[in-house]
Subunit: 220 residues, 2 copies
């Protein structure tokens, strides 16, 4: 499959590399086509790897992963061109974390409580099927659920389109070892408020547990 | 032990009844000494149960549970008299949930992201040792952790005073079957922001799981 990944940070690079390992073609998108980190990533990930602008990567992908930081997301999507996302499944991993006041982080006030990054992405890309997913775990766990408790822990997804959510479940199971029965669909894209709101909590648990390599398992 | 419980809702009544069952004396506090729900609760809980005003219950308790709703908390604490909490361990269960916009709930904007109910309670009661606890599970699970997964799931607490947190761990273990090793101390009272922020998420999971009788177990 051809996959676009927007963002050249830790999350984008790890997601992209894992998808290439599974046989997909991945284009990493950034503000400029000559972004140094993206160029280095392309070199080290072989012939199925490429990089370009946000617009290049969005046009390239049949499925698009958004791995941006909260503050830059709207500008990046506008620069990518909303038309390039039309009718595509867009997996939004972005967290609107605000570290400007130090630790522990808060959320950017404009994406908090009654609005979220996930809803903003869906609003910016009205013709795309946005699914919020993977934003509640660390990058190395995103791409291999088996790294914690034999894959027995939960992922929380949401989005307006049921087919898109099913496709995302399939992509996560096939490529990243997420067991479909451990993926909990919380509802429409408004529920991104909830899954983004638990990320400062995640940071607190990481501090207490002294590792980012953990997740929550719902028990009844 | 003499315990004060502020609040006559579902949570206060269940907490109070469970503590009486364990042999404690419990006074339920409400706005008026003749509150109907509190009077009925006293009648049905035997000789160790009593009720009175917020001030009566705060003065009575060696340990005080705050089981109020977010909007009424500051007024209730002022009416209880901050002096009645001096040097006491105060367990704050309050969640600043806002259902006024329908489901899913948000948090009251004044207790959200960079401020919390837990911090507010500590600020209102500067001479008390406030510990945020139990606010992340349903009332019937608060009082018997064994009702889910043999007690193997996590409770998240925070507060400024280490001795007070240890006392709360002891109270929860002795009375409510919480295993000390499953109680995760996230840090000072600022971390109430995190444990309150996961409550709208809890509502979403409850909707998806179709039961409130669940919790999270951290797995690594």
């Amino acid at each position: 499959m051809k996959i676009g990944v927007l963002g050249t940070g830790n999350v984008g690079q790890i997601i992209g590399a894992a998808l290439i390992e599974k046989g997909h073609e991945v284009m990493l998108g950034s503000r400029t086509a000559t972004n140094e980190k993206a160029t280095a990533w392309t070199k080290s990930n072989g012939p199925r790897a490429s990089n370009g602008t946000f617009a290049d990567a969005a046009a390239f992908g049949e499925v698009i992963f958004i791995c941006l930081n909260g503050l830059g997301t709207v500008d990046a999507l506008q620069s990518a061109g909303p038309n390039n996302f039309q009718n595509k499944v867009v997996i939004d991993l972005t967290n609107p974390l605000d570290f400007s006041k130090g630790m522990p982080p808060s959320l950017l006030p404009q994406y908090c409580n009654t609005w979220s990054m996930g809803e903003e992405v869906q609003q910016q890309l009205p013709a795309a099927h946005v699914v919020k997913a993977l934003n509640t775990v660390t990058a190395n766990l995103m791409v291999d659920a088996n790294r914690v408790n034999d894959g027995n822990h939960n992922l929380f997804i949401c989005g307006n389109d049921v087919d898109a959510k099913n496709k995302v479940k399939h992509v996560l199971a096939e490529n990243f070892n997420w067991k479909p029965e451990m993926i909990l669909d919380l509802g429409d894209i408004r529920y991104a408020r909830m899954t983004e709101a638990i990320v400062p909590f995640w940071v607190a648990v990481m501090q207490a547990e002294k590792t980012p390599m953990f997740n929550y398992m719902i028990v009844t």
